[in-house]
C-alpha cells in the first residue's frame, strides 16, 4: 500500500479513437483494477491531446508539472502506480515527457480542452468557461452584433475554401424565410486528416456551443451535425453531449430561458467524400443521392429543403465560443493579417511527431516539419509535404520557408485545406503519390460531371501506365491538358481540385515523371513494374537464401554458385534483397 502521495493525483487516460486503437482501453481497465490499492489516486479519461505517436498515454500533473506518460502497456501500470512520484525511477521504465515541451511552437484555441477535459462530462466543459459565450450572446448581444463580431475577427472557413465566416453568416441572416437551418459539416474525409474527429471526440460541447451561437446569429431554430458513420465515437460523444445540454437547458425550446429555441439533429453520412461539398451534403441530409448541384443559388439563400442554410465546418464552429469569450480583437491579433487565428493540422506520413497540432497562421512549413514535427521519421530526408489531401498539393522541401496562410499556400499550388499534412521522404515516388490521390478522387467522384467522372479516370489510367513504363510524352501532354480542363470544368470543389496533386507534382517534380516516361525507371523503387532485381555474380556466395525465400521460385542456381533471377516470373517483392547476407541483390 503506497500512501506516500502528498496530495491526490489525477491520471487521465487518452481515450480518443487514436488512443483506443493503440490500446488505451486495456490501460484504463488495468488502472481501474489496480487503483483501488492506492489512496489519493483518481482516474479519469479524456480524449486525444494530439500526441498520437505517444499513444497510449496518460496525462497527469505532479508537482505542478503536466507530464505525459507515453507509449504505455498494461503491464507497466502496477510499476507506474508504485513509482508515480519518483520521476527518476519512473523514467527508467516508462517514457515520461513534459507536456509543455511537446507543445512548444503551438498555440491552442480549438484544441484548448482536447486531451484535458472528459468529453462526456458537461461539468468539465463548464469549468473551462464552457457555454459562457452562449450565455453572453443570449443575454446581451444581438444576432447582428454577433455576426459583426465574427466578421471583425477575420475568421475564415476552416473546411478548406477559406471564405469569410462572418460574411457567410450575414448572407444567411439576410435571407428571408420563416425557417432556416445551420449545419455543422463533420464529413471529414481526406486521407490523413483527423482534426475534426479529434475535436468532436475531445470537446463535443464546444462544437455544439458554436452551432447554437451560429443558429442564433442567422435566425435558425434547427441545426444538423452531418458526421460520417465511420466516426462512431465522435457520434456517441456528441449524442451524449446533446442530451446533457438539453437537460441543462442549453438546447431546447427556450435556451437558457432566453426565448431562443434550438435543437440539434445528428445526421450520419455513409462516408462519401463528395458529401463534404455543401450542396451534396444537403442532398444527403435530404435523403437524396449525394451529388453536388450548381451554385448559385448558394445554400445561404436556398439550402436544406430549399430554405436558407448556413454550413460551417467543425473547426470553424469550434473557434466561435473562443472568439465570443475573448473578443474578436484577441482572435485577429493571432496569425497574419489576412489569415488570422490558428489552424489545426494533422501531421502524418514520414514524420517523427505524428499527430494533431494547432499553430498560429503564418508559421513556416519548416517550423512545423522540423520544429513541431521533429523531422523525418526515417533515415531519409523529408522530400515534400502534401497539404490539403486529394484536393491539395505537394510542396517541395526547397519551399519549406513558405508561410502557412491561405494566400501563401495557394501561390504554391497547394491549399490550407482542412488541415491534412502528410510528409513524404526520398523513398516516396511522386508519380505514385499523385496516382494514389487520383485513385482516391476516382473512387469518390459522384459521377455527375463529364470531366470529373471520365477525365480523372483517364488521368489515372495515364498515371498508371507511367508507373508501369508504358507511357510516352504525348500522354504527358494529355495529362496536363486533362488536368487543366478538369480544374475549370467541374461543378464542385472535388472535381475542380482533383488535378491539384498531379499539377503540383508535375510542377515541382517533373523530372520524376520524365524518368518514368523516358527511362522507364523509378528511382525510388516504388513503382514495382519498373524495378528489376538482379544478382551481382561477383558478390553472390551461393547461399541459396534468395532462392528459398522467393515466393514464385524464379531464382535459380546451385549451392555455392552464383544465383540468377529469371525476370519473367519475378513479382518484385524484394524478398531476395532483404535476405541476401552479402548485399549481392540490387534494384535497377
Amino acid at each position: 500500500m503506497n500512501s506516500k502521495l502528498p496530495q491526490s493525483v489525477l491520471l487521465k487516460v487518452g481515450m480518443g479513437t487514436c488512443g483506443i486503437a493503440a490500446g488505451a482501453r486495456a490501460i484504463y481497465d488495468k488502472l481501474e483494477e489496480q487503483v483501488k490499492n492506492f489512496q489519493n489516486i483518481e482516474i479519469d479519461y479524456t480524449s486525444c491531446n494530439g500526441f498520437c505517436h505517444l499513444e497510449p498515454l496518460i496525462e497527469t500533473i505532479i508537482k505542478g508539472k503536466t507530464l505525459l506518460l507515453a507509449n504505455l502497456s498494461a503491464e507497466q501500470i502496477p510499476f507506474l502506480l508504485e513509482n508515480l512520484t519518483n520521476k527518476k525511477l519512473l523514467s527508467s521504465k516508462v517514457l515520461v515527457i513534459e507536456k509543455d515541451k511537446k507543445l512548444k511552437g503551438q498555440n491552442r484555441i480549438v484544441l484548448e480542452n482536447c486531451g484535458i477535459i472528459n468529453p462526456d462530462k458537461l461539468n468539465d466543459y463548464l469549468e473551462k468557461d464552457g457555454y459562457v459565450a452562449l450565455k453572453k450572446v443570449l443575454n446581451n448581444i444581438s444576432p447582428e452584433e454577433v455576426i459583426e463580431n465574427i466578421k471583425k475577427s477575420g475568421l475564415r472557413g476552416r473546411g478548406g475554401a477559406g471564405f469569410s465566416t462572418g460574411i457567410k453568416w450575414d448572407l444567411a441572416r439576410k435571407a428571408q424565410s420563416e425557417q432556416k437551418y445551420v449545419i455543422c459539416n463533420a464529413d471529414e474525409g481526406d486521407p490523413g486528416a483527423f482534426m475534426d474527429r479529434a475535436v468532436m471526440e475531445g470537446d463535443p460541447h464546444r462544437v455544439i456551443e458554436g452551432l447554437i451561437i451560429c443558429g442564433y446569429a442567422i435566425g435558425a431554430s434547427k441545426g444538423y451535425i452531418y458526421c460520417r458513420a465511420e466516426y462512431p465515437l465522435a457520434i456517441m460523444r456528441l449524442r451524449k453531449a446533446i442530451i446533457d445540454a438539453k437537460e441543462s437547458n442549453l438546447l431546447g425550446e427556450n435556451v437558457l430561458n432566453s426565448g431562443f429555441g434550438f435543437e440539434i439533429i445528428i445526421k450520419e453520412g455513409a462516408g462519401a467524400f463528395v458529401c463534404g461539398e455543401e450542396t451534396a451534403l444537403i442532398a444527403s441530409v435530404e435523403g437524396q443521392r449525394g451529388m453536388p448541384r450548381i451554385k448559385p443559388p448558394f445554400p445561404a439563400t436556398k439550402g436544406l429543403w430549399e430554405k436558407p442554410t448556413n454550413i460551417n465546418n467543425v473547426e470553424t464552429l469550434a473557434n466561435i465560443p473562443w472568439i465570443i469569450r475573448k473578443g474578436a480583437d484577441s482572435f485577429s491579433a493571432l496569425g497574419t493579417e489576412k489569415s488570422p487565428g490558428t489552424k489545426v493540422f494533422s501531421l502524418a506520413g514520414k514524420i517523427k511527431n505524428a499527430g494533431l497540432i494547432e499553430i498560429e497562421m503564418g508559421v513556416s512549413l519548416r517550423d512545423i516539419i522540423y520544429g513541431i514535427g521533429g523531422g523525418s521519421s526515417t533515415n531519409k530526408e523529408v522530400k515534400a509535404v502534401q497539404l490539403g489531401g486529394p484536393s491539395g498539393g505537394c510542396i517541395p522541401a526547397e519551399m519549406f520557408d513558405t508561410l502557412v496562410d491561405y494566400e501563401s499556400l495557394m501561390s504554391t499550388g497547394a491549399i490550407v485545406g482542412s488541415g491534412g499534412m502528410v510528409a513524404v521522404d526520398e523513398d516516396t515516388c511522386m508519380v505514385d503519390l499523385a496516382k494514389y490521390f487520383l485513385q482516391f478522387i476516382q473512387s469518390e467522384s459522384c459521377g455527375k460531371c463529364t470531366f470529373c467522372r471520365i477525365g480523372t479516370k483517364r488521368m489515372l489510367e495515364i498515371l498508371t501506365r507511367m508507373t508501369e513504363g508504358k507511357s510516352n510524352m504525348e500522354e504527358l501532354n494529355k495529362l496536363r491538358a486533362l488536368a487543366q480542363n478538369i480544374g475549370v470544368a467541374s461543378l464542385c470543389a472535388l472535381g475542380k481540385t482533383a488535378p491539384n496533386p498531379v499539377m503540383t507534382t508535375l510542377r515541382y517534380f517533373e523530372s520524376e515523371y520524365l524518368e518514368h516516361i523516358n527511362e522507364k525507371k523509378c528511382s525510388t523503387g516504388v513503382c514495382k513494374a519498373l524495378v528489376i532485381y538482379t544478382i551481382d555474380e561477383q558478390k553472390c556466395i551461393g547461399c541459396t537464401k534468395c532462392a528459398k525465400n522467393c515466393p514464385v521460385d524464379t531464382i535459380s542456381g546451385s549451392l555455392k554458385k552464383p544465383h540468377y533471377i529469371h525476370q519473367e516470373k519475378c513479382i518484385k517483392c524484394g524478398n531476395c534483397e532483404k535476405v541476401c547476407p552479402v548485399g549481392a541483390v540490387s534494384k535497377l
Partner: protein, 683 residues
C-alpha cells in the same frame, strides 16, 4: 434592363436569365447535352461552357450561369472550343456503340451506306436503294459485280454465321432499277460555267464526272480508248462484268448529266496537257495504271511473252490475240486470275505460277472458281528466264520458300538454291502488276516515284488547279477505291472552283465499338442462325465454254431474305444524336482518350430500350420523370466512373412502368433511352 456583352456585341437581358437563354434568344450557337429547357439547369456535361472575361472571370456552364450587368462573355473562343471538344472526347471514350455500321466505316472504301440500302432493298424499294448507293458511288451495278467486298470481311454477321452477301446486292438493286427504266440519276445543279477536264473515263474519272456534273460544272473527259470504263471494261472479263452493263451505267452519266467524252484521245499525244490546262478551270488526272510491269528476267521481251493487261484488252475489244494451246500466267492477283480464266475460256491449257503460297492469294473465291474451270496452279514458284525455242517458250522456273513474317506480317518469297526446273509452253502471260503512264504530266506535280503526288485529304497536287485520283496515284487498286477517290476529288474540285479553297471531304465520323474479333459474344447470342443466300449461277460446263455471265439474277424473296439478315449494326438514333452531331462539329477524335469503357449493355421492356452502354449520364430521363412526379422510373446507381442510369435498385426495365414518353426519349441526347420500335430513315 441590364446588358451583357456576348462576343463583343451588346445584348439586353432580364434579371435571372442565364447566358444560354440570352444566347438562344439571339441565335448565338451553344451546344448542350444535359440541358432540358423546361427543367432547372443540371450542369453535368460541360459542353455548353463559355468564358467570362471580366469580374469572376473563367469558364462556366452557360446553362446555369446567370448574366450580370456588364458581364463580358465569349461563347466561341479557342479555349471554349477546346474544352467542349475535350468534354466530347471524354464522353466518346466511354460510349460503347457504332454510329454507323462497320461495313460502311471500316469496310467500304467508298463508305456506301450498306445497312441503308439493304433495309430499302428488303422493303422492295430498289430505286431508293440505288439512289442511296449513288450518294457515294454512281456505279452500283459495276461494283455489284466486280468488287472484292472488303465490307463482307468486317460484316458483324460473321460472328453469327456468315456475312451478308453485300456485294451482289448492289447489282441486284441496280438490275431492278434498270428493269424499271433506270438508272435514274439525280437532277444536276444549274450551270456554274466552270470547265473541268478529266483524263481517263475509268471508275475514278467517271465517278468524278458524275459528282462534278451534278454540281453544275461542265465536264470534259479525255479517253485514250474507244470506249469508257477503263480497267472495268478492258481489264475485267465479260463473264464477270458484261459490256452492256458498263454501257448502261456509264452512258447514263453522259446522257442524263451531260458529261462530254472525247474517245480515242490520248493526252500528251492527241492533245497536250498544256492545252488541257488552258481550256479548263481544273484538271483531274484519272488515267489509271495501265502499263504492264516487267519482271526483269532474260527473254521477257519475246513476242511469246504477253502482258496480261494487253491480252485482256484485246479480248475485250473482240480482237483476241492468239496464245497457242498452252500458257502460263505469272502472278497471283486479280488480273492474273482474270487472264487465266479468260485463257481457259479461249480453250487454252492454263497454269498459274505464283511465287507465294495459296494462303497469300488475294481472291479466295476466284481461286476456287478458277480451279473449277480447269486452271492449274503452281505455288511457290517464279520464272527466272525465258527462251524462244522453235516457236515455243522454254520457261526456267525456280522454287521459292517463304521467310518468317516481317514487321508487317508479310512473308516474302526466297528462291531455293538449285531448285530450277523448266516449263514448255506456247506463251507466257505476265500479270505481276501495272505501272502508271505519267509521261504527259508536268514534272512539278510528280512525286519521287514518278507518279502524281497529292494531298490525300483533297486529292490536290502541288499545282492547285490539278487533282489526281485512282490507280494513277495508288497503283493498281480496287474499283471501289477508285470510285471513292474520284468522289473525293470531285468534292474538293467543287470547293476549289466555288470557294477558291479545295477543302476535302470530311472523314466519316463514327463511334466504333471495336474489331470484329474483339466484340463480346453476348452481342450476337440472340440472333437465329440463317445461312447466306446462295447466288444462282450457270453451270461449270457453261462457264468453261464461253463468256456468259456466271452470276444469275435472284428472286425478290431471295433479296428480301438476304437484306433481312442484316444485324443493323449502325445506331438507330444516328440522325438524332446530339453527341454525334457535336462530335462532328468539334472534330472529335474518338480515340483521343482510351481506357476502360462501358461494355455492351442493353435492357428493354415492350416499349423502350435502355442502351446503358451509350448513356452519357446526363440524367435528363430521370429529371423529366421526376418533374412528372414519377420517382420510380429511373435513377442513378453506383459512384463515379461506374455510375449508371438504371431502374430503381438496379432492377430491370421490364419491372418499371415506362412507356417511353416522347418527352423522355426526345430529350435523350444520344441513344441512351429510346423507343424500341424506332427505325432509321435512310435517305
Amino acid at each position: 434592363m441590364s446588358r451583357v456583352i456576348l462576343n463583343s456585341k451588346e445584348y439586353f437581358f432580364n434579371e435571372g436569365q442565364t447566358i444560354l437563354s440570352v444566347c438562344a434568344e439571339n441565335d448565338i450557337y451553344i451546344p448542350t447535352l444535359c440541358h432540358v429547357k423546361e427543367l432547372a439547369p443540371y450542369g453535368s456535361c460541360f459542353v455548353c461552357v463559355v468564358e467570362i472575361k471580366n469580374g469572376r472571370a473563367g469558364i462556366v456552364p452557360s446553362c446555369s450561369t446567370a448574366c450580370s450587368d456588364g458581364m463580358i462573355v465569349e461563347t466561341d473562343n479557342e479555349r471554349v472550343k477546346g474544352i467542349r471538344k475535350m468534354a466530347l472526347e471524354l464522353l466518346m471514350s466511354d460510349h460503347f456503340g457504332d454510329c454507323l455500321a462497320p461495313c460502311m466505316v471500316e469496310g467500304c472504301p467508298a463508305n456506301i451506306n450498306i445497312q441503308g440500302f439493304l433495309a430499302l432493298e428488303g422493303e422492295g424499294k430498289y430505286q431508293e436503294a440505288a439512289k442511296l448507293i449513288r450518294q457515294k458511288a454512281p456505279i452500283p451495278n459495276i461494283l455489284g459485280r466486280v468488287c472484292p467486298a472488303p465490307c463482307e470481311k468486317v460484316c458483324r454477321r460473321n460472328r453469327v454465321d456468315e456475312p451478308i452477301s453485300i456485294r451482289i446486292q448492289k447489282r441486284y438493286i441496280s438490275d431492278k432499277e434498270i428493269e424499271q427504266g433506270g438508272p435514274f440519276l439525280p437532277a444536276k445543279a444549274s450551270d456554274t460555267g466552270k470547265v473541268v477536264s478529266i483524263v481517263g473515263a475509268g471508275p475514278a474519272g467517271m465517278t468524278a464526272s458524275y459528282f462534278l456534273a451534278l454540281s453544275g460544272h461542265r465536264v470534259k473527259v479525255y479517253e485514250a480508248h474507244p470506249k469508257h470504263g477503263g480497267m472495268t471494261r478492258y481489264g475485267i472479263p465479260y463473264y464477270r462484268l458484261p459490256e452492256d452493263i458498263i454501257d448502261k451505267e456509264l452512258d447514263a452519266i453522259i446522257a442524263q448529266l451531260g458529261v462530254e467524252i472525247l474517245y480515242n484521245t490520248k493526252v500528251g499525244k492527241d492533245i497536250s496537257f498544256e492545252e488541257l490546262m488552258e481550256s479548263s478551270d481544273a484538271v483531274l488526272l484519272a488515267n489509271g495504271a495501265q502499263i504492264s510491269s516487267s519482271m526483269d528476267i532474260p527473254g521477257e521481251n519475246s513476242s511469246l511473252v504477253v502482258p496480261a493487261v494487253k491480252y485482256l484488252e484485246l479480248v475485250a475489244k473482240h480482237t483476241p490475240r492468239e496464245i497457242g494451246n498452252e500458257t502460263v500466267v505469272v502472278g497471283g492477283g486479280h488480273t492474273a486470275m482474270d487472264a487465266a480464266r479468260t485463257a481457259v475460256r479461249m480453250g487454252v491449257k492454263t497454269t498459274i505460277l505464283y511465287r507465294r503460297s495459296e494462303e497469300e492469294m488475294p481472291g479466295k473465291d476466284e481461286v476456287a472458281e478458277a480451279i473449277e474451270e480447269g486452271v492449274e496452279f503452281q505455288y511457290l514458284s517464279a520464272p527466272v528466264k525465258c527462251e524462244e525455242v522453235k516457236n515455243k517458250l522454254k520457261v526456267t522456273c525456280i522454287k521459292m520458300e517463304l521467310s518468317q513474317p516481317d514487321a508487317s506480317g508479310r512473308r516474302s518469297p526466297i528462291p531455293v538454291k538449285g531448285s530450277e526446273y523448266e516449263l514448255q509452253v506456247d506463251t507466257m502471260i505476265m500479270a505481276i502488276g501495272q505501272r502508271v503512264d505519267s509521261s504527259f504530266m508536268p514534272l512539278d506535280i510528280l512525286g519521287k516515284r514518278g507518279i502524281p503526288e497529292i494531298d490525300k485529304s483533297n486529292m490536290q497536287t502541288r499545282n492547285e488547279k490539278v487533282f489526281a485520283a485512282g490507280d494513277c496515284v495508288t497503283g493498281p487498286d480496287l474499283v471501289v477505291t477508285a470510285v471513292a477517290a474520284g468522289r473525293k476529288a470531285a468534292f474538293a474540285i467543287d470547293n476549289y472552283l466555288m470557294k477558291a479553297v479545295a477543302f476535302g471531304e470530311k472523314k466519316l465520323f463514327s463511334s466504333v465499338t471495336g474489331e470484329l474479333c474483339e466484340l463480346p459474344e453476348v452481342m450476337f447470342a440472340t440472333y437465329e442462325k440463317k445461312s447466306r443466300m446462295i447466288i444462282p449461277h450457270i453451270s461449270i460446263e457453261e462457264r468453261k465454254q464461253g463468256f456468259n455471265v456466271i452470276e444469275l439474277p435472284a428472286s425478290d424473296e431471295q433479296l428480301k431474305y438476304e437484306a433481312e439478315r442484316c444485324l443493323l449494326c449502325g445506331c438507330v438514333e444516328v440522325n438524332d444524336c446530339k453527341l454525334k452531331e457535336y462530335s462532328e462539329l468539334y472534330d472529335v477524335d474518338t480515340k483521343m482518350f482510351q481506357g476502360e469503357s462501358r461494355e455492351y449493355e442493353k435492357d428493354s421492356n415492350d416499349e423502350v430500350v435502355l442502351e446503358t452502354d451509350k448513356c452519357i449520364n446526363c440524367a435528363s430521363c430521370i429529371r423529366i420523370a421526376e418533374a412528372n412526379d414519377n420517382y420510380k422510373l429511373l435513377g442513378l446507381t453506383g459512384r463515379g466512373f461506374s455510375s449508371r442510369v438504371k431502374p430503381p435498385f438496379n432492377g430491370e426495365m421490364k419491372e418499371v412502368d415506362c412507356l417511353a414518353c416522347d418527352e423522355i426519349v426526345n430529350n435523350c441526347p444520344t441513344a441512351g433511352i429510346r423507343k424500341g420500335n424506332k427505325k432509321v430513315e435512310y435517305s
